[in-house]
Amino acid sequence: MTSAPPASAITAKPRPGDRVFSTATVVAGTLILVTLAAVAIFLVAQSLPAFTAESADFKGDADNFWQYVGPLVFGTLWAAALALIMAIPIALGIALFISHYAPRRLAQGLGYVVDLLAAVPSVVFGLWGISVLAPAVQPFYTTLTEWFGWFPLFAGPVSGTGRTILTVAVVLAVMVLPIITALCREVFLQTPVLHEEAALALGATRWEMIKLAVLPFGRPGIISAAMLGLGRALGETMVVAMVLSPAAIISFALLQSQNPTTIAANIALNFPEAHGVGVNILIATGLILFVITLAVNMIARYIVDRRKEFSGAN
């Protein structure tokens, strides 16, 4: 008597609004790819003359491009690594403090205070680093070289101005702190309340609850936050250009007056006076910086992708 109606795929009624909107989003997304391609193409094209440049074209006593860029690459990685080593534990602490330790009433205000740190422009940090931090830490550096000079990192002779790579790394750490903190905090706050309450109900202390529920949930977010912080530390220009007393050397010593400078700072300091092949050489160092950040991002993305990301939208 009754028969099942023929099964057919239900298609939505095509609406002009839908068409316009989805096309706009695709165009916007594609625009990003086009921009990035333009950046890469331009950098490569403008860099080519640098790889065949004569030794007379380089500042300092480098014979070819790789000798010129080597110390700069080292300085860039070294400064960023130092900054992240200092920033990540503190950022995690702050994020946990705001999300799970501070009284609920205060938490939002405290989060705002840390966001203020992100609001301080890099050039202001540069001014602060050179006129407040460097003189303040110099006596401490002197003591450090006196007591721990046998340790290669703290080898003397100590810088008389405090404008060393450690000072730069401290300022860089302060600058990446709010970025890492803000993201971690957001992720920690998104931990399912039921997970936390389940842990607490089983008798976990607050730290055990965080270990069991909050940190595993937030791990991809923590890695992605650290990645953003690293990106900023690698490319930060003005602080390094203003605070560091640079030299074209490779040295792990933290407290001396001869410090490896970074690619970005080197470009900023030399670009205004550069001409001819000099411009190409600086752009080629920019390309190297770009490749380094690309590699860092790809590694970080690989780590993030290995974990299953939680999302409400899939």
């Binding site: 921009t35 730290w207 965080i210 220009t237 939208a313």
Partner: protein, 366 residues
């Protein structure tokens, strides 16, 4: 220390070494221990200062006091409350310390900027440019106008592109294009600001065939390159957090997809999106390096984004500091006043963001 001498009784009357029934430190122990540790360390350093005839080292005494507190509270808690509670207290102390450490540079930066910036934070600073000024006097009106124009244009470019891309990634995207965009947005996040400046410089040098090109719009393009990925990432995160149930409920009522996004998904996540946009503006408004390269510096007013060099506030601060004239103090004062202005602009943006976020934020369970 009476707690130490009277172990807690379990219901059957025999003491049990169990964290569930272990003792508990009196309520305000942590506070007293902290005050005690700092007091002891201050005393030690005061004695050292008297003995050596040097100044009292307040930073070192507070720092070592906190370190001593962390150790003492852990030992006390471990003895009385057991190892689990002890590590909980240890982490609490460390986490609170981390927050305090972060406050130090903030307070120091704010204090220095205000103290050094106020001497020139006057009407002249906001009503005059640096045209024909050598030594004292002059102002930053040209730089303030330039910063507002360049950053405003960058925001106009970045927010539509960034937000639409985020919507594509979360709501529409599938397959290869989505993966490519996600990947390359991450790559773009890592573009150093100076490279963005070099890119804008070469792009417009090529288009206009002018090897020494400097103009404001180029700065906007460079800032957009930095701003778009930040907007995409933060908006994407926020859109992902909108529960699928809300979307499904809208579809079940027959709402078209684009209206679902506009009327359900975006309003739910708008607070987070605005916060993200404000963070991205705060990031680019202080960018110096790209503007140094493509927007250049000048001492005159320029209201036209598409012609001539345009001064911006961060570059103003940098050039005042880097190219100090004969009267050094005048230049440094102007640099700090510019820094103070910059910080105030950004703080204002943040306050507006907070208010907007509070007004539009949906009610959550917490």
């Amino acid at each position: 220390m009476s707690v130490l001498t009277s172990p807690p009784k379990s219901p059957v009357g025999t003491p049990v070494a169990n964290s569930l029934t272990a003792g508990k430190l009196p309520r305000y122990t942590a506070v007293y221990v902290l005050i005690g540790c700092i007091a002891v360390m201050s005393l030690v350093f005061a004695m050292i200062a008297v003995a050596a005839g040097s100044d009292f080292n307040i930073v070192a005494s507070v720092f070592l006091g906190v370190v001593a507190y962390v150790v003492v509270i852990w030992v006390l808690s471990r003895a009385v409350e057991g190892p689990r509670k002890a590590s909980d207290r240890l982490v609490t102390a460390l986490v609170a310390t981390a927050f305090t450490i972060a406050l130090l540079p903030l307070i120091s930066v704010a204090y220095t900027t205000i103290v050094n910036g106020l001497p020139r934070f006057d009407i002249q600073f906001f009503s005059e440019s640096m045209r024909n000024v050598v030594g004292p006097g002059g102002g930053a009106l040209h730089a303030i106008v330039g910063t507002l124009l360049v950053t405003g244009m960058a925001t106009l470019i970045s927010v539509p592109v960034g937000l639409l891309t985020a919507i594509y990634l979360v709501e529409y995207g599938r397959g290869r294009l989505k993966h490519a965009i996600t990947f390359f947005v991450d790559v773009m996040t890592g573009i150093p600001s100076i490279v963005a400046g070099l890119f804008a410089f070469a792009l417009f040098a090529l288009i206009t065939d002018d090897p020494g090109i400097r103009f404001g719009f180029g700065g906007s393009v460079a800032l957009s390159v930095l701003m778009i990925p930040v907007v995409v990432r933060s908006s994407e995160e926020m859109l992902k957090l909108v529960p699928n149930e809300l979307r499904e409920a809208a579809y079940a009522l027959g709402v078209p997809k684009w209206l679902t996004i506009l009327k359900v998904v975006l309003p739910t996540s708008i607070a987070g999106i605005i916060t993200g946009i404000m963070i991205s503006i705060a990031r680019v408004i202080g960018e110096t390096a790209p503007l140094l390269i493509i927007a250049g510096f000048t001492t005159s007013m320029n209201y036209n984004l598409f012609a001539e060099r345009m001064m911006t506030l961060p570059v103003f601060v940098y050039t005042q500091y880097a190219n100090q004239g004969a009267d050094t103090q005048a230049y440094i004062d102007r640099a700090w006043a510019g820094a103070l202005t910059l910080i105030l602009i950004v703080a204002l943006l943040n306050v507006i963001a907070r208010i907007v976020a509070k007004v539009f934020s949906p009610k959550t369970g917490r």
